[in-house]
């Protein structure tokens, strides 16, 4: 079976053939094809968003995608939640010598399809091949540049009276990867929610010009997003525990393993804060979009001056929603 060789990363003939036969074959566009040291692209005047993320998954394939799809969706989502239309993407591959060539091709195809879905162009890239044993499998870094079309979204921007919306069930991706890693079958196979959110985010931003903050709850899950928002904005957020949408299979997996679904990563969900009076309109827009069918309001900002998140149960008990911490996390994302 053909595999990736050290020479593929050496900068010589073999690198050129990898670029032409694999990367350009799938990702070709007028900018990438120039093969210069930097991509040169147009941007309208104004502010841009710029973000980076590195992706590690072993094995690199999961139920609902692969590390290539994830690397595109993750960076597209980081741009989207800042009100930026995703425009240009870079792709940095770090590959272990001996990695199956066919797997790499599947991963690049995953990138291609996800990039097409968000109309983002992969314009520049880099490949390093590490000697066998220096890296397990593959790492991908994607950085993205977007055009700010909606200003003012910020984790520091939540106000008393805001409602908190999530676009769908939380923790699907984290539970999917956890099941895969631990080799556990929970009876129901858990699919990742991995997907690019720009289409949905754009509809939300058209529907309301009072959105205060957006974030995709990846590492650390919903709990990390809400905790960070409450701290940075200095507000108290109340969340209604039973309103948080969690798939049965995800809940089951979490109960079995003593984990909290609100600590698990999603890779295709968005959390939104906006004045509660706008929530109904925005929810109906979201629910009519394929990426937001499961959208619902899960809480509200109830006070200021005190950065914390309170979880209220159906029995009206109240407890602090803790941000994830420590040892469990690395096992899952």
């Amino acid at each position: 079976m053909k595999s990736v060789l050290l020479a593929h990363g050496g900068g010589g003939e073999e690198t050129r053939s990898l670029i032409n036969d694999l990367f350009r074959r799938h990702l070709s566009n007028r900018v990438l094809d120039r093969l210069e040291d930097s991509a040169v692209v147009d941007m309208p005047e104004g502010r841009i968003a710029f973000t980076t993320d590195s992706y590690t998954l072993s094995p690199p394939f999961f139920n609902g995608g692969n590390i290539g799809k994830l690397a595109v969706a993750g960076t597209v989502n980081d741009l989207s939640v800042m009100g930026a239309r995703p425009r240009y993407l870079s792709a940095g591959f770090m590959i272990e010598e001996g990695f199956p060539y066919d797997d790499l091709e599947e991963i690049v195809k995953g990138m291609k399809e996800e990039a097409a879905a968000s109309e983002i162009m992969v314009v520049t890239g880099d490949t390093k091949v590490l000697p066998r044993g220096d890296l397990k499998g593959i790492l991908i870094n994607t950085s993205g540049v977007g055009e700010i079309v909606y200003a003012g979204l910020s984790a520091s921007n939540l106000k008393v009276g805001d409602g908190i919306i999530v676009s769908g069930t939380v923790g699907d991706h984290g539970a999917c990867i956890l099941a895969l890693r631990e080799g556990i079958d929970f009876g129901l196979s858990i699919g990742s929610d991995c997907q690019s959110l720009w289409g949905l985010v754009e509809e939300v931003l058209k529907a309301s010009d009072e959105v205060h903050a957006m974030r995709d709850p990846t590492r650390g899950g919903l709990a990390a997003v809400l905790t960070e928002w409450s701290t940075q904005s200095g507000v108290e957020i109340e969340v209604l525990e039973e309103e948080i949408p969690v798939k049965d299979a995800v809940r089951g997996a979490c109960e079995l393993l003593g984990m909290d679904p609100t600590h698990l990563a999603s890779e295709g969900r968005v959390v939104i804060a906006l004045p509660e009076r706008e929530a109904e309109d925005v929810l109906s827009v979201m629910r009519s979009h394929p990426l937001g069918r499961g959208a619902r309001m899960i809480g509200r900002v109830i006070g200021s001056g005190r950065g914390r998140v309170v979880l209220r149960s159906s029995y009206n008990t109240r407890r602090i929603m803790e941000p994830p911490s420590g040892e469990l996390l690395p096992r899952i994302c």
Copy 2:
């Protein structure tokens, strides 16, 4: 000794403390400090350059710098040679569990100093910690955004009558890393040329508005740059072998190991193609700049229609300059 833990990459409290106590402590600026999912920055109207590169070095320290300095200089240089003023940088850290915290701090300090030298801002970042054994040491990806201030530089743009200039000795960085990896002392310690080139490049672009192409000869060295230029521009380049500046220690190391200095990476040199009539002025500007003291003309474009590089010796023998290929390269960069 304090070391990097899996929890530092988990997205929770420990990640926050790593960001605040280490990354922000050294790299703090008004954009990075916002800690949003994407950095939001201003750009003037027009075209931007966008580039990415991943850096791997084991061990991560060398004579003249570390992987952090290299990661900034390398990306600054990729922007510079496209005529782009370096503006914004992303930093993606991939770190093995157990990596010494003090080493990471040294690396971040290296980034800080090199970024300051080029007036580029690190505005966004990401850290992943991989379980012990899944990665050896550290990998850093930097992506960069620059503002095109000089258009038209391209590997396809060489013309008959162009002179070929290099800014200094070639292969220093490659030879330095080779010596380090193989544990060989060549009698003279070989220092890397690792440095950010924007200051020098800007002076060159002010001195001539007819520069056709620029490139920093990293992976694959001078031979890869010239071969690629000749192919992409469809021109024949003649290089005078004895005009290529190579340090004695680098030449000695190459002779011992059967390598060609023109295949070794530089990380602080630039190769320039421009009409020969402009060369004298540009050379004098370069030589009066600290980064270009060793600048000289090494060859010229002598014909079109035929993409190849011919190396002429002092005995007037001629041979094709071969691009690097195959197995040797990965050992050195």
